[in-house]
Symmetry: C2
Subunit: 190 residues, 2 copies
């Protein structure tokens, strides 16, 4: 997707260790016009699968997931990392490694809003190793839902997320694919 690619070229920064800083339009400051366009594009790629929910993880997944859900006209659910007092005592919980935090984080899903057998699409800002998305998929499975697609704004293909998620055998869509961040650069695939 050209608009996102252009923005990464203009403002993205390679901080080393595979960390791409996109704080000026995705992760701290968010450009809602760009995010709306990304959501429209992701929605167009998953509409034919008829999902009834978008599932994401707080925090940075919320903006792209919300805009994708908006264009599909379906609700988004974001897994929490700390159980809020408003959630029931019995929840689904799994652990996933956080690349930017350097430790395991909890992903918590309430059983209240998901129905057994329903179809959902997972959306996140990054597809890196795929471990967060695998965690979300475990939560969905625990809730009896069927994950029918996976989408991300930015894929770091050198971190092998697509391979790690390959066993799920469902469509994986990313809007921009970064093929290398070696030597301080940011190489973007076609």
């Amino acid at each position: 997707m050209q608009a996102l690619k252009d923005r990464i070229c203009a403002e993205g920064r390679n901080l080393g260790n595979g960390i791409l800083k996109v704080d000026s339009f995705i992760n701290h400051q968010v450009d809602p016009i760009l995010m709306d366009a990304c959501g429209a594009e992701l929605a167009s790629r998953f509409r034919h699968l008829n999902p009834v929910h978008i599932l994401t993880a707080e925090i940075s997944g919320i903006a792209p997931a919300l805009m994708t859900a908006f264009h599909l006209g379906i609700p988004v659910i974001y897994a929490r990392k700390v159980k809020p007092v408003t959630m029931p005592d019995q929840v689904f919980l799994t652990l996933a490694p956080s690349h930017t935090k350097g430790r395991m984080v909890e992903l918590i899903l309430s059983p209240e809003n998901i129905s057994r057998g329903e179809k959902l699409v997972i959306i996140d800002d990054f597809l890196a190793s795929g471990m967060t998305i695998l965690g979300l998929a475990r939560l969905a499975e625990a809730a009896g839902a069927e994950v029918v697609g996976i989408g991300a704004l930015i894929e770091k293909s050198f971190e092998k997320g697509r391979e790690n998620l390959g066993g799920m055998n469902i469509p994986i869509e990313s809007l921009v694919r970064i093929t290398s961040m070696e030597d301080g650069g940011i190489e973007i695939g076609e």
Copy 2:
């Protein structure tokens, strides 16, 4: 705002201690169509002030802030509660009490995206005691920005946020005002 009021009447739950559960359309599951309508309404109330940023706090502020920013065509910045590795070493940090967490939380703002003298509007999901919003206002002030308005989806007027923010002498807008949650009820103002 009638659509939000209707939804609170249908799905909101009074959990006691002033905690309103709206997990099925704002805080865990988000209805993007409703959130878009709320964003459009908040945007219409602040457009004449010509803000250049919406400022909010993660996590639950992101959805309403993003949609408000979308309708104003300006970026949103969300204060982080944990400093990500992508932020510079020097940041603005303040503490605010979290009603639902029962402890103080950090609110962290990067100086990178805010300009001295710029106008911004603070948007959050709830206006309760106003302490989170006061924290955001302190961050904005530290960054040299001018807070020109405050907006929330739901105001719990019995928690006196409007009084606590009164010293700022700027417009405060909420879409639904809850006047009492005594005896397990949810009373909504006109």
